[in-house]
Symmetry: D3
Subunit: 160 residues, 6 copies
């Protein structure tokens, strides 16, 4: 791993670093996070009574669209032509939490870690928004990179 | 607190709910979160050697700009004329974490909880982005609403 | 009704016209449109087999988010603080078409006709996108203003 | 033609489908639509008295800029590096309608049908906006794909 | 005039300053700038041969749309509901330059100087873009605030 | 140099011209501009008393983010995957001015002159915004292309 913060030049000025000399490769990043909530809130989300509306379906779209907005949100991120974005939810009834996983792919010169993390964040914030009328105490936790593949630095796998 | 998920109508369809009959009031929301990292990463961020660049200054701007993008990111959020956004960082040397606090104000018909939470998320993601070359294992935690004031539902204070 | 194209000044130059001297009033606009498709495509959308995914739920969110983007899309539209956006679908099995209705409200100086029409367009385009793998021949028709209320020009009701 | 709605995975969850394994090819999509209006409204648009301002020139730019916004508007669309966008208008005096045609090209992994349809929609909505002070009854019709070329599924030509 | 840089708090941290306690007033800002070019380039722009296309009409729309994007571009700008935007061009044949003037109005808590300056910049950059194939040496000069009215600090008039 | 304004077709209609048949090459554009201000304003910006906040650091980020927004701001600009953006400031104490230089790179089918010029403009406007409370008379000058490399038209160097 580099020992440099690559978003600054040698004088400490913020830059969007040159990636034009990197070879485009297929890249994948997987990020995870979770929303913790009251058990009753999770019950409502999962309720068979789906006429109440599908919180997770809205959050999924929000996460996908957030991933596409990453270079607008993160000042020094490069624009990328994302080739796929998928978001999964893993509710844990009895534990009052929903895990979120985002998988983002690109064929390009730089990785998609930030896009995957941004997708998770966008989905998590949307779950909060959809449920805040009944549970203002919800918390977003453990947004983190699980895996990345491709690129010069190669594969990263988070220790379990 | 309401017992309804207000972003769905009675048939379960997602809507941006009517707020036009609410009285505009001065509103404030305060949200917090934190980025956990290796102690050495925090050391670099805080390093007197600020010629290395100011990670937190970039993250602060990213958080402010993210707050302004909230209605683009959260599908059912209302557009609002935010009147102030401030972001503070509380580094905890020795604990490998930086706390982030966002305070957002508006005079309007609906609250700014989501704007404050989005500001914290944007700042946290940017810290990750700025430091990921040296510490891919960083995690974002405990994004949560601390206080809100104003509006019909009045004051909310998180229990300590 | 005015006899002027109000988006041009007296010399024919495009302007975003002054509305600052208008009194803010509660305004509502209702627009409609429809997507025509093969009967089998509509069947899939409506299919009890909803594990196939909810086309209309995605289109509803797209329409809501499109309404918020109206001043970015329509060059001379004023920014507005929309207070509500709701979208309904009326499928017509046997006729191979889905009607779309958008209702948009604001308390402001100018009307929300364009926001309602843009919401319908965004929802219709998204239905096309979701189904184009099976039916490239779909057509979008009859996007039109049904009603508007509020503002100096008052109520408009389309003749049946 | 596929028999699947490709924007959902096998469990019915919305995804932005992987296109990274497709070969980039030159692609073209041509879409059309029309705005129907009072004959007098069309007369004003076409009037030699062009000091009244050029409605179609504004609509053309709006359509071009809308095409570039497609992945922000259509939730599951991929970002693309459009290589050209052209919009033509075909007024039909005596019939009270203006036809709109958009041609969009890309060298990429996925097609530009949605970009062409979005360009037509953006131009049509802008014509409505520019003329609504004199003709609120205008209608947008027949937004449809005329041709597409390139990509694995090859050429599509609408039947006349 | 204040002796403080108001976009920093007392510790030097960037903030979007609170304006919620200011009284909304009608405000106007007028900004100017100019594009200097070869006389032949200006000739083409002004040419009776308008079949060559209307550079200034495109630039006018770009300026209007840029003004609406100001809070996305200028990190610490407040969002505002602009009530009018108008852009005028004053070509100076024989001097190889086009002056640009933008007038922006709002009823709000903070001024529209940045919106007017951004409108001028957007129009100037677009003139450059439209003509760069024939004149890469064009320069943008003298973007400046001419007047502002309204708000606590009252009227500002640039010395001639 | 071409003798055509390439953003219009042969009939004078604005188009985003086809670049799909151009070969992707590595391209670089360098643009410059300057902000003129009172000597005391420049003193504050440069002041050792940096607890007053870092105007140029904010302006740098604004310029980088503005470059990424170029195709949204300039109507006929192509979207591009910028591979690097760097902004430098050259303050001239005693002359009351700060020079701004932006360097933008891409591997693509079309040049990045507009991105570099837009980066300079965004940084300059932000300097104005940050300092306008103490110096409304600031002016932005001499935004111009210094160099471009790559592409069919090859190298351009401004005469000194």
């Amino acid at each position: 791993m580099s020992d440099q913060l690559t978003h600054f030049d040698e004088e400490g000025k913020a830059i969007m670093v040159e990636v034009g000399d990197k070879t485009p490769t297929q890249r994948l990043a997987i990020a995870r996070g979770e929303v913790r909530m009251q058990e009753s809130t999770l019950g409502r989300i999962l309720d068979g009574d789906f006429s109440k509306g599908d919180v997770l379906a809205v959050a999924r779209l929000a996460g996908i669209m957030a991933a596409k907005k990453t270079p607008e949100l993160i000042p020094l991120c490069h624009p990328l032509l994302l080739t796929s974005i998928a978001i999964d939810f893993f509710p844990h009834p009895g534990e009052g939490r929903v895990e979120i996983e985002a998988r983002v792919r690109v064929t390009g010169n730089t990785g998609v870690e930030m896009e995957a993390l941004t997708a998770v964040s966008g989905a998590a914030l949307t779950i909060y928004d959809m449920c805040k009328a009944v549970d203002k105490g919800m918390e977003i936790h453990a947004i983190r990179l699980m895996e990345k593949h491709g690129g010069k630095s190669g594969t990263y796998l988070r220790n379990a």
